[in-house]
């Protein structure tokens, strides 16, 4: 072996230069494959959304350009879906942010008890959302649900939770908040514990009021964390499916017919591939626009922080 190696001529400088030049491309090959893996299904969905394609109406199939989108945009049910999806997203993000921040502030000082409590508070996050929905379905059962019993004790009777259009959104929001507030809490808690101590010590020495410290020091320094947490939750919330479908199947009526439920029913019940894909493309566009707004805001804050530094 050693002899063979000894008899081989040394690599020419040209070949070596080629190898060096090709190396970055070779190294980026896995990333390229991942990109293809992501882009191909996406483009497939775009392709289907431009077709009239219903699995059990094969004679309808054909390329129709943007007709699916035009049909969607002229459908009042679809605009209701846009509205309810955005309301749901806004409500969950804001409420979970406020609650998560509140809990994180309470637990910000590390101690044994606080550490145990923060772990305990993470328990809902470990429950699959569909299971959480079923648990809440039982807890809100008007005849034997514990929550129904509790509200009856304070004089509220005949409250129908997810079964009535007036309270269905409130009920699924409760479940979402129960499941995902810990997610906000843990991100913001990590952020709070990572903040530099000096500004707070200085404020304490100067006797600055707590509200001033919170609004002028804590909140601005925590904003990147808040934006990141809100972005994650926003992307998740606007695509919410499990909780809403398990509790209401999008009802009563069309009350909770959010994007994902609409797309799911279009595909799995109606076998309408084209319309389902079009609904999901609109959802993607909205998520993309909202994400861009969040990310731009986050980048602006980061630039400002750098400038200040």
């Amino acid at each position: 072996m050693a002899a063979t190696t000894a008899t081989q001529p040394p690599a020419s400088p040209r070949k070596s230069r080629l190898g060096t030049a090709a190396l970055p491309y070779l190294l980026s090959l896995p990333a390229l494959l991942v990109c293809i893996g992501i882009i191909v299904p996406f483009l497939t969905a775009v392709w289907y959304s431009l077709q009239r394609y219903n699995l059990n109406l094969p004679y309808l199939r054909g390329f129709v350009w943007f007709q699916q989108y035009i049909d969607l945009f002229t459908d009042t049910t679809f605009w209701h879906t846009v509205q309810v999806s955005l309301v749901y997203t806004f409500a969950t993000v804001v409420l979970e942010l406020l609650l998560g921040l509140g809990i994180a502030l309470l637990l910000r000082r590390p101690s044994k008890l606080h550490n145990i409590m923060s772990i305990a508070l993470l328990l809902p996050l470990m429950v699959a959302p569909a299971i959480a929905a079923l648990m809440w379905k039982l807890m809100t059962h008007p005849d034997f649900g514990i929550l129904s019993w509790l509200i009856q004790q304070v004089g509220i009777t005949n409250f129908r939770w997810a079964a009535a259009p007036s309270s269905a959104l409130f009920t699924v929001l409760l479940v979402d908040i129960w499941v995902y507030t810990p997610f906000m809490m843990i991100l913001l808690l990590a952020g709070l514990r990572g903040l530099p101590k000096q500004p707070f010590e200085a404020a304490e020495l100067d006797g600055v009021p707590a509200s001033f410290v919170f609004f002028r020091i804590t909140l601005p320094m925590l904003t990147p964390y808040i934006i990141t947490a809100a972005l994650f939750r926003m992307l998740d919330s606007i695509q919410q499916f499990d909780i809403i479908y398990a509790m209401t199947q999008g009802g009563p009526g069309d009350t909770l017919l959010v994007f994902q439920v609409m797309a799911y029913l279009d595909f799995f019940q109606n076998f309408n591939v084209g319309r389902s894909a079009a609904v999901l493309m609109v959802l993607w566009a909205i998520a993309y626009i909202l994400s861009n707004i969040f990310i731009k805001h986050w980048l602006r804050l980061r630039e400002r922080a750098r400038g200040a530094a």
């Binding site: 109406l57 009535a164 209401t248 009526g253 069309d254």
Partner: protein, 480 residues
């Protein structure tokens, strides 16, 4: 099976002794009732095997997709007989109904070869058939090489057999000209009243005779001191809300879902005067005396409430009431059954039927072997085993309905069950118009019903809106 047990069963099958004598002898040989029935079925299967080459596909394995249901339980309890008779293996996945049809749709739409056969309803075949996902079984049934001479296809109740066959022409009659047999009927259900005899006796009432009477009676029960609500019916935002009691009553009022026009096109007809009259009563009934969270109610909740004594009666599948009269249910033994003709003055009930059936996937790799399983599972022997020993009701074979052992068992423990069945079955059939947008039409209908019950829209207006919406969708699909 020991030699003595086998000899006893062989003698019975050859007519050498009565069923009673056979039972006594097997008892002396240490076999209990269930074991004796299993052995008898095994003996019958072996006898049947003599006339047909059941071993033709020995060594093959077929895969089934099953819904969690007593029919599937009965099949699983008897599957060893099929395995030993054919030398084939059977594997199966069982899913609860909440997700079952999604699983079927996912498997078929992706052209998966994973499953060879699966449970389905007749309505679903209106989607699977035109999509090319399931096989026309006529070619197997009519092929003597493939089908056991004792299969006795004509023994299947004609209406049920026809209801699983359709030409694929929207609006065409089920089982009519050019119909393809998309599935083999397995067990079916029709809709009637199942009620709690204990509560009815306590209130000194008898089951209502028509829908206006039912509305009044349900309210009276809800308002009484019985501590239960009057009537359970389904309400979830799904096709399953429309097909049981609601459509049975709707049909009894002479209303129709869709009309076939002279040019063959379909037009929504649920907003007819008869449809509005019936729906107004239905909505009132739910508002006054239905379950409080009706809009989330699937058949599981409707049945469970009856079995647990939370509701006084249900207007739903007769077999749902049947299941609630046994097992660990609190009210087991207290339930009774009554046929129901909703329209005042109607001659007879007109229950819409649901048929659990077996269909063969187009994408399976071993169709002939799958057919062997399907003919066994829908054959007389297995039907008798299920009817006598398991909860394999309502059988689709007339010979099983005539079986004395089955009838005696039902008559003993399920008061009024056979009577309601016999009063209801002549008018029972699928009352929906067969067409591929079945799921869309019925899901939208259920959503509209939810809006009406929630007082978001008046009934008349709600049905008009629904009909206009359905017409739009039919037109867009080239059907209207």
């Amino acid at each position: 099976m020991s030699t003595k047990q086998k000899d006893t069963i062989d003698r019975f099958l050859k007519g050498g002794m009565s069923r009673r004598e056979m039972g006594l002898r097997l008892g002396r040989l240490g076999l209990g009732g269930a074991a004796a029935a299993y052995m008898l079925n095994k003996g019958m299967s072996e006898a049947q095997a003599a006339d047909f080459d059941w071993k033709k596909h020995s060594g093959k394995t077929i895969n089934l997709l099953l819904n969690k249901h007593p029919y599937a339980d009965a099949m699983i309890a008897n599957i060893e007989n099929f395995k030993s008779m054919t030398g084939m293996d059977v594997k199966y996945d069982v899913f609860p109904e909440d997700v079952y049809f999604d699983k079927v749709a996912a498997a078929l739409s992706s052209k998966s070869t994973q499953y060879d056969a699966f449970m389905t309803g007749a309505y679903q075949t209106w989607q699977y058939g035109p999509a090319g996902w399931i096989e026309d079984l006529n070619e197997y049934i009519s092929d003597p090489e493939q089908t056991n001479p004792n299969y006795n296809w004509d023994d299947m109740l004609p209406g049920i057999r026809a209801s699983t066959a359709w030409s694929g022409v929207p609006g065409a009659e089920l089982g009519g000209e050019g119909a393809k047999q998309w599935a083999l009927p397995w067990g079916f259900e029709l809709n009637s009243i199942s009620y709690n005899r204990r509560i009815f006796d306590q209130l000194k009432i008898e089951p209502a005779k028509d829908l206006p009477g039912l509305v009044e009676q349900a309210k009276m029960i809800t308002d009484s001191d019985a501590g239960v609500y009057g009537i359970g019916v389904r309400g979830s935002r799904s096709w399953a809300t429309i097909h049981p009691g609601y459509l049975s009553a709707f049909a009894n009022y002479g209303a129709k879902d869709l009309e076939v026009q002279d040019d063959g096109m379909l037009k929504a007809a649920m907003n007819s005067d008869a449809g509005k009259e019936m729906t107004n009563l239905w909505v009132k009934m739910i508002q006054e005396s239905g379950p409080k969270n009706w809009a989330t109610y699937t058949w599981y909740q409707v049945g469970t409430d009856l079995g647990a004594g939370a509701s006084a009666m249900i207007y739903d599948a007769d077999i749902l009431g049947y299941f609630m009269n046994g097992g660990d249910n609190k009210e087991a033994g207290n339930l009774a059954y009554s046929a129901f003709a909703p329209k005042p003055g109607a001659e007879a009930p007109t229950p819409n039927v649901w048929i659990w059936s077996l269909a063969m996937s187009t994408f399976g790799n071993q169709k002939d072997a799958t057919w062997y399983f399907m003919q066994w599972a829908s054959g007389t022997d297995h039907a008798l085993f299920g009817a006598r020993q398991m909860d394999f009701v309502n059988p689709v074979r007339s010979s099983v309905w005539k079986d004395e052992e089955f009838r005696a068992r039902i008559a003993k423990s399920y008061p009024g069950y056979i009577e309601q069945f016999e009063a209801s079955s002549p008018g029972s059939k699928i009352y929906f118009t067969p067409q591929p947008l079945f799921q869309t039409v019925t899901t939208d209908w259920a959503a509209a019903l939810q809006k009406m019950v929630a007082n978001e829209v008046p009934v008349d207006e709600g049905l008009d809106e629904l009909a206009a919406n359905i017409d739009k969708q039919l037109k867009s699909a080239g059907l209207g």
